[in-house]
C-alpha cells in the first residue's frame, strides 16, 4: 500500500545506520553478482566456440620411435604409409590421416604472409600440411573450390624437399630466386580478413621466402586457439609432412572401442615405438581449463555472496524485530492486524532492497567500466541487470519473511508490560 510508505520512510530515516547497511549490502551484492555473471557469460562464449570439426569423434595419435632405424627418413616415410593404411583398415575408423594438426591443442605452427604483389598489410596465419584425407578425417568438406588428393600431397612433398635440400639462390632482399608455388585451402574467416570482397578463391599469398600460395579452396569454419588472436585463420597446404602423428575419426560411437585397438594396430606395423593417444575432447577440456575454472569459481562466489547477503538480511531484520518488540506490541494494541505487522516489515525490507538495487545498478555499471578498461570483459548487458534485480528482490523478500513472521506473532499484551 503506497500510503504506508510515508511513515515507514520517516522511521527509516531516523535509523539511518541499520537502513544504510542493508542498502549498501544489497547494492554491493547486486553490482558484484551482475558483473560476475557478465564475466561468466564472456567465458561461456569462449567455451561455446566450435572448432568446426567433429571433435567428439576425433583421436589424435602421436608415435615416438626409439628404434634407430627411424633415423633414416625413407624408412620413416614407409612406416608412416603403412601406419595410415593400418589405421584406415581398422573397423570403426571413418577416416585417418597423417598430420601435425591437433584441434584444441592451443598452438601449432604459423607463418607471416601477405597478398602476393603487396608487402603490407601482413597477416599471421596458422599453417598445416594436409592430404586427400585430412578434411575427411576432420569430418568436413571443402565448401568452395577443391580438396587435395593423396598423390598431390606426396608429389608436393618430394618436390619441396628437392628444392629445399640445398641452399636456394636468393636476391638482395632475401627472397629465393626460385620461388615454390603451393596450392592451399584457407578458412572463410581469413578470406574475409585478407580480401575486401571476401573472395579468396583464385588469389595468391606470399611469404618472406618469396614462396607463393595459390588459394584453391575455402573451408567454412575453423577455430584452433593460438596466441596472438589468430585462432580463426588457417591455411592448409598439400604435403605429406614428416613425423608419426595421426588424426583418426571414429565412426559414431566407436571412439572408445578404437582407443583400445589403435595402438596395437600401429605396434603391429612396427614395434620399436611408443603410442600416445588423446581424444580431441580431452584436449579441448584442457585447453579450456582456465575458462572452466573461472566459470566454476565465479559461480560459487555468486552463490555464496547471495547466501551471505540473505543471511545478513535475515539477521539484521531479526534483530530489528527483537528491538522493536514493544513497538509491535503497541501497534497491535492500537489495533494493527497481524497482516499489518507482516506487511510493515516486508514493505520496509522491500523499500531498503529497492534503494539498494537502484544504487547497485549504478555501481554495477561503474564496476563494469573498470573491468572493461582493465581487461577483456565485455559491456554489461541490461538484461543481466534486470535478472540481477529480480534475484535481489526475491532474496530480500524471502530473507525478511521469517523474521517478519516472528514479528507478526508478537502478542499485543507486550504493550502493558512495564520495564
Amino acid at each position: 500500500m503506497a500510503s504506508d510508505f510515508g511513515p515507514i520512510l520517516r522511521a527509516l530515516s531516523r535509523n539511518k545506520a541499520r537502513a544504510s547497511i542493508i542498502v549498501l549490502e544489497v547494492a554491493l551484492t547486486l553490482a558484484i553478482v551482475v558483473n560476475c555473471v557478465s564475466l561468466i557469460k564472456d567465458a561461456r562464449l569462449e567455451l561455446a566456440k566450435q572448432s568446426g570439426f567433429l571433435d567428439e569423434d576425433l583421436i589424435s595419435v602421436r608415435v615416438r620411435a626409439f628404434d634407430p632405424a627411424f633415423n633414416e627418413q625413407p624408412f620413416t616415410d614407409s612406416v608412416i604409409a603403412k601406419d595410415v593404411e593400418a589405421l584406415r583398415a581398422l573397423p570403426g575408423v571413418a577416416a585417418a590421416t597423417q598430420t601435425r594438426f591437433r584441434p584444441w591443442q592451443g598452438g601449432g605452427s604459423s607463418n607471416e604472409v601477405w597478398i602476393a604483389g603487396t608487402k603490407s598489410p601482413t597477416f599471421r596465419i596458422q599453417t598445416y600440411a594436409a592430404d586427400g584425407q585430412t578434411f575427411k578425417s576432420l569430418g568436413i568438406t571443402v565448401a568452395e573450390g577443391r580438396d587435395f588428393t593423396d598423390d598431390e600431397a606426396v608429389s608436393e612433398r618430394d618436390r619441396v624437399r628437392a628444392v629445399t635440400s640445398q641452399n636456394r639462390p636468393r636476391s638482395a632482399d632475401g627472397r629465393a630466386t626460385t620461388p615454390i608455388v603451393q596450392e592451399i585451402v584457407v578458412s572463410r574467416a581469413f578470406a574475409k580478413l585478407a580480401f575486401a570482397d571476401g573472395v579468396a578463391l583464385g588469389k595468391s599469398l606470399e611469404d618472406s621466402d618469396g614462396d607463393q600460395y595459390a588459394i584453391v579452396g575455402v573451408i567454412d569454419r575453423f577455430y584452433n586457439p593460438y596466441a596472438w588472436n589468430i585462432g580463426e585463420y588457417v591455411m592448409f597446404y598439400a604435403t605429406r609432412s614428416t613425423g608419426m602423428q595421426y588424426l583418426v575419426r571414429a565412426e559414431k560411437g566407436q571412439r572408445e572401442t578404437l582407443l583400445k585397438s589403435l595402438d596395437k594396430a600401429l605396434l603391429t606395423v612396427n614395434p620399436g615405438r611408443v603410442v600416445k593417444m588423446d581424444t580431441i575432447q580431452d584436449l579441448k577440456l584442457k585447453n579450456q581449463g582456465e575458462q572452466l575454472f573461472v566459470v566454476k569459481m565465479l559461480g560459487g562466489v555468486i552463490f555464496l555472496l547471495v547466501f551471505v547477503t540473505a543471511l545478513g538480511i535475515v539477521g539484521i531484520t531479526s534483530f530489528s524485530v527483537a528491538e522493536r518488540t514493544r513497538h509491535i506490541g503497541t501497534r497491535r494494541a492500537l489495533g494493527a492486524q497481524k497482516t499489518d505487522i507482516l506487511r510493515y516489515f516486508l514493505t520496509e525490507n522491500w523499500l531498503l532492497t529497492s534503494f539498494g538495487i537502484v544504487i547497485g545498478s549504478g555501481l554495477a555499471f561503474f564496476l563494469n567500466a573498470a573491468l572493461v578498461s582493465s581487461s577483456t570483459a565485455s559491456r554489461l548487458a541490461p538484461v543481466l541487470l534486470l535478472v540481477g534485480m529480480g534475484i535481489m528482490w526475491v532474496t530480500g523478500i524471502l530473507s525478511a519473511l521469517a523474521p517478519a513472521l516472528r514479528g507478526m506473532r508478537i502478542e499485543p499484551a507486550i504493550a502493558t508490560r512495564n520495564v
Binding site: 531516523r14 513497538h327 489495533g335 492486524q337 502478542e411 502493558t416
Partner: protein, 240 residues
C-alpha cells in the same frame, strides 16, 4: 459499557497454576471514570489485558459496548481494539522513530481512513492536548508529561468508546502527573468512559469509584467517590 461476569484467567506452567483473575465481575456504565486498584501482583495488568482485548481469558463472559467479545478471532479483536478502545500506557509506548504527528496517526492508519480525514483528526487531537507547536518533534525531544499527552492525543484522535489507562502517571513527576490527571478528568467530563488501573490512592481518589483487586479477585465491592453523572457517550472529540 463494560460488563464482565465471572471472568477467569489462569496461567499454567509445568509446575504451577496461577489464577491471575478469579471470578471477576464488574459493570462499568457509559461515562463512568472507574479506578482499578491493587498491589503489584494482584492481577491489575491481567485485568487490563483482558479488558483491553489484548489477551484472551479462560471463563466468564465479557460484553463491551453491547457486543459479546468473549470469543473473538485475533482479527476481530484487533479491529475492536482499534475502533472502540483507546489505551494510555504507563510508559507511553510512543514509537521513538516517529514524530508526534505520525504517532497520533498510528491507530487511524489501521482504520483505513482517507489522508484528509486523518489529518483533520490528528491536528485537532494534538491541539486539544496543547502540543500543536510540537507536531514534528520526536518523542525523545519531549518531556515525560508531553509524551503522555501525545499518547492521550493518540486516544482522542481515535474517538474510542472506552479509554483504558494503565498507571498513566506512574512515570511522571507530581506536577506532570497532575496535568495528565486533569486532562483525563476533562475528557471524562466530556463523556468518555475511562477505566484506570493504578496503585496510588491519590489518583484513584480522582475517579468516581474504585475497585480493589487482590489475588485476582474483586474485594470489598465498589468505593464510590462522588456521585454518578450520566453524560451521553460518543462524539467525544466534538464535545471537548
Amino acid at each position: 459499557m463494560l460488563k464482565m461476569t465471572g471472568i477467569r484467567k489462569v496461567y499454567r506452567t509445568d509446575l504451577v497454576e496461577t489464577h491471575a483473575l478469579d471470578d471477576v465481575t464488574l459493570d462499568v456504565k457509559a461515562g463512568e471514570f472507574v479506578a482499578v486498584m491493587g498491589r503489584s501482583g494482584s492481577g491489575k495488568t491481567t485485568f487490563l489485558n483482558v479488558a483491553g482485548l489484548l489477551d484472551t481469558f479462560d471463563g466468564g463472559t465479557y460484553t463491551l459496548d453491547g457486543m459479546d467479545v468473549s470469543r473473538l478471532s485475533d482479527a476481530t479483536m484487533s479491529r475492536t481494539r482499534n475502533e472502540k478502545i483507546g489505551f494510555i500506557f504507563q510508559s507511553f509506548n510512543l514509537i521513538p522513530d516517529l514524530d508526534v504527528f505520525d504517532n497520533v496517526d498510528l491507530p487511524l492508519r489501521y482504520r483505513r481512513m482517507t489522508a484528509k480525514e486523518r489529518k483533520e483528526r490528528i491536528l485537532s487531537a494534538v491541539e486539544k492536548v496543547g502540543l500543536s507547536s510540537r507536531l514534528h518533534h520526536l518523542p525523545s525531544q519531549l518531556s515525560g508529561g508531553q509524551q503522555q499527552r501525545v499518547a492521550i492525543a493518540r486516544v482522542l484522535a481515535g474517538d474510542p468508546r472506552l479509554i483504558l489507562a494503565d498507571e498513566p502517571t506512574g512515570n511522571l513527576d507530581t506536577l506532570m502527573a497532575r496535568e495528565v490527571m486533569e486532562l483525563l478528568l476533562k475528557i471524562n467530563e466530556q463523556g468518555a468512559t475511562i477505566v484506570m488501573v493504578t496503585h496510588t490512592p491519590e489518583c484513584a481518589a480522582r475517579a468516581q469509584r474504585a475497585i480493589h483487586l487482590l489475588d485476582g479477585r474483586v474485594v470489598d465491592g465498589d468505593s464510590h467517590f462522588g456521585h454518578l453523572r450520566s453524560v451521553p457517550t460518543g462524539a467525544l472529540a466534538a464535545a471537548i
